[in-house]
Structure formats: structure tokens, C-alpha cells
């Protein structure tokens, strides 16, 4: 079975379950499952012993689970569970078909743009900790989509922000994940340490570059032996794209 179909099936189940909850079913709100909520809660919990706004213990336990997962398998959460990553991936696939030409972003610009997600993380934490409210919900695609532009979104401002993210994702693959996701920024140091990595066998590699073309994050497994980049989500697209048997594999490496 193609691993991508397995991954997409799991993501479809996640999206289905969140939609079911967002429609008012189940015991908890869909927001209760967001691990980033665990980060947003930490300050309130340590200072006042209370969860921020609509957040609760499940947000915190999901955060712990994701940190463990990231230490083991890098940002696997992003490509195997996160509905926004899934949406970004689908939009990128559509973008490749409908956007004329190939939009190339240089490595140095890419590196500078990636700093935006740290600004995004700092802004979310600053405002949440300062106010004790989830006041940036209006800019959060996860909340805006699953709440159906619910309480806390900002009408036209939210629509504009979501449209820009969608257009960005059509033009630059994984636009939100690469440049804006605050959870991705928070996971970076843990992902860097992630034990299970993509490993390239130099002897069988023919340096065709198919792995880099297939990588949604534009990473280049062909330039390294062990891929340590914190952006790798272990989606395994590169492994499946590689034409040489047993050339790209997963290995344990500190």
C-alpha cells in the first residue's frame, strides 16, 4: 500500500472527527484537541492555576504527546495528523496544476521568511498571556475553518487573512506550515533532536533529485546522508518518489 494513501486516510479520519465535533457532537469542543492550546495554557496554569479561556487538560496532554512524537519522529504530527497541514498539502497539489509556471523561492529568502513563524509564535503567546483570552482566533485557520467563522473571528479581516493563506498555499507549497505556523515554530528544537530520520545511501543514489521535487517542504535529502532539518515531517513522500530501491530509508540516529 502506498504510504501516502495511508497518511491521507488517517488525515481524512481526523478531519471527519473534527468536523463532527464542530457540528456540536461529542463531549468536547474541537478546540480541546489542539496541542497548541496546551502551549497557550501554560502561563495561566503556572501563574493562576487555571486554563486559558476554552482550553483544558486535553490540550495539555496532546501537547505532551506531540512533544514525545516529535522527539521520536520529528514533525510527524504535521503531515500525519494536522488538518491544516493536510489542507495546505491539498492546496499545493491544486496549485501545481492551476498556477502557470513554477514559482521558485530562493533558499536565502526561504530562510528569512521562516523567521516569520517565530514572530507568529511570539505574537500569539504575548497576546494570549497578556489578556488570558484567545484573542488571535480571528487569524487562526484551524479555528476559523472548524468553527465556521464562529465567535472570536473578525469577519472580513478573517476572510482576508484566510484568503491570503489559501492563495499563498497555491503558489508556495505548505505556505502556512513553512512561514506562519506557531506550533511548527515551537516544535523546531524538538524536531531537530528527532531520532528517526531519513537516511540516504550514497552508494545507490543516482542524484536524480526526485526526492527534493517530491518533498512538500522543498528539503533536499540528496544533499545529505542523515536529514536533520527540523522541517522534515517524515511524510515519506521522498522515500516513495526515489527510483532507486533501498536508497532512502528511515534510520535511528542521534
Amino acid at each position: 500500500m502506498k504510504i501516502r494513501y495511508l497518511r491521507w486516510s488517517l488525515l481524512t479520519v481526523v478531519v471527519g472527527a473534527l468536523t463532527w465535533m464542530a457540528l456540536g457532537n461529542g463531549e468536547r469542543s474541537f478546540e480541546a484537541y489542539c496541542p497548541f492550546g496546551g502551549i497557550e495554557s501554560l502561563y495561566g496554569l503556572f501563574r493562576e492555576g487555571q486554563f486559558t479561556c476554552a482550553l483544558g487538560p486535553l490540550n495539555l496532554s496532546m501537547l505532551v504527546a506531540i512533544l514525545v512524537l516529535t522527539l521520536l519522529a520529528k514533525k510527524a504530527f504535521c503531515s500525519w495528523v494536522c488538518p491544516i497541514g493536510f489542507l495546505g498539502e491539498l492546496l499545493s497539489k491544486i496549485g501545481i496544476k492551476i498556477v502557470p509556471g513554477k514559482f521558485q523561492i530562493s533558499e536565502s529568502v526561504n530562510r528569512w521568511f521562516k523567521l516569520l513563524r517565530y514572530i507568529s509564535l511570539a505574537a500569539v503567546l504575548f497576546f494570549t498571556y497578556r489578556t488570558g483570552e484567545l484573542i488571535l482566533r480571528g487569524y487562526d485557520p484551524f479555528y476559523a475553518i472548524f468553527s465556521g467563522m464562529g465567535h472570536g473571528t473578525l469577519g472580513n479581516v478573517t476572510i482576508l487573512v484566510m484568503s491570503l493563506i489559501a492563495i499563498g498555499s497555491l503558489v508556495i507549497p505548505m505556505f502556512f506550515c513553512r512561514y506562519l505556523c506557531p506550533l511548527g515554530a515551537a516544535l523546531d528544537p524538538f524536531s531537530k533532536l528527532g531520532l528517526i530520520k531519513i537516511c540516504r545511501n550514497e552508494e545507490t543514489c543516482i542524484e536524480c533529485g526526485e526526492c527534493q521535487t517530491a518533498c512538500p517542504h522543498g528539503l533536499a535529502p540528496q544533499d545529505t546522508i542523515f536529514l536533520r532539518d527540523s522541517d522534515c515531517t517524515n511524510c515519506l513522500e521522498c522515500v516513495e518518489a526515489c527510483p532507486e530501491e533501498e536508497t532512502l530509508n528511515l534510520k535511528l540516529k542521534l
Binding site: G49, L69, N249
Partner: protein, 127 residues
């Protein structure tokens, strides 16, 4: 040594389910309030307990807000809320106030800062 690529979905599923069950390790705050004895009216021995599952009681802030709704209500002696279970436990004097009255208080629409009114709490179950 190479690892099977199926290790990734296995790890994803096990950590996600692990996270779901780990939630019990992080308790959510409980608030409790004992109201003035005069508020309960009559004899404390006559008091009954009413447990309500309340949609809307989900954190310490909402639990405090919920508790305030009953601060000046005659017939209620104590109120404990457990945010993690969305639960409120009342002791009340049935000669002064009925479970339906208690329910009506929490479900009454509340005036918001922007002038509109909204029902914040819904009683899903009473025992």
C-alpha cells in the same frame, strides 16, 4: 539498521491515543462556594443535592462566572463546580427553590458587553 516506514503511523497513533488518555493526569480546577446560611432558608438538614451537567462550565473563569449567578439566590447553601466534568453540584432547600428554578437561573440569557444577550449555560442533565 533500516526501520520499516510503517513505524511512523504506528508512533503517530500510539502517541495520539496516549495523549488522549493522559488527559486525566491534568486535573482542571474545581471551585466551591458556601453561601450565607441565611441564603439557604430553613433547616440545613432538609437540604437536598442536585448534580447538573452544564454545557458552558469549561474552565475556572466560566466556573466562577457560573457560581456568581447563584450568589444571591435564596434556598441554595453550597455550589461546587468541576470544570473537567462540566459538572455543578448544588445543595439546596426544596421548600425554597426547585430544581427547575435552579435550571432556569443558569439558562437565563445574559447581557453581554456589546448590549446583545446570549444563553451561556445549558443544563444537559439533572440528577
Amino acid at each position: 539498521m533500516n526501520i520499516s516506514k510503517y513505524i511512523i503511523p504506528v508512533l503517530v497513533l500510539s502517541t495520539m491515543f496516549g495523549g488522549y488518555f493522559l488527559r486525566h493526569a491534568f486535573t482542571q480546577p474545581t471551585t466551591s462556594a458556601i453561601f450565607e446560611s441565611s441564603q439557604s432558608g430553613g433547616n440545613l438538614e432538609d437540604n437536598l443535592t442536585l448534580t447538573c451537567k452544564v454545557q458552558g462550565v469549561k474552565c475556572k473563569g466560566t466556573a466562577n462566572f457560573f457560581t456568581k449567578l447563584y450568589t444571591d439566590i435564596a434556598g441554595i447553601s453550597t455550589l461546587e463546580t468541576v470544570a473537567s466534568d462540566h459538572k455543578a453540584v448544588f445543595t439546596y432547600n426544596p421548600k425554597v427553590i426547585s430544581p427547575d428554578d435552579i435550571r432556569a437561573i443558569m439558562e437565563k440569557p445574559i447581557r453581554l458587553n456589546n448590549g446583545s444577550t446570549k444563553q451561556i449555560f445549558t443544563c444537559l442533565e439533572m440528577k
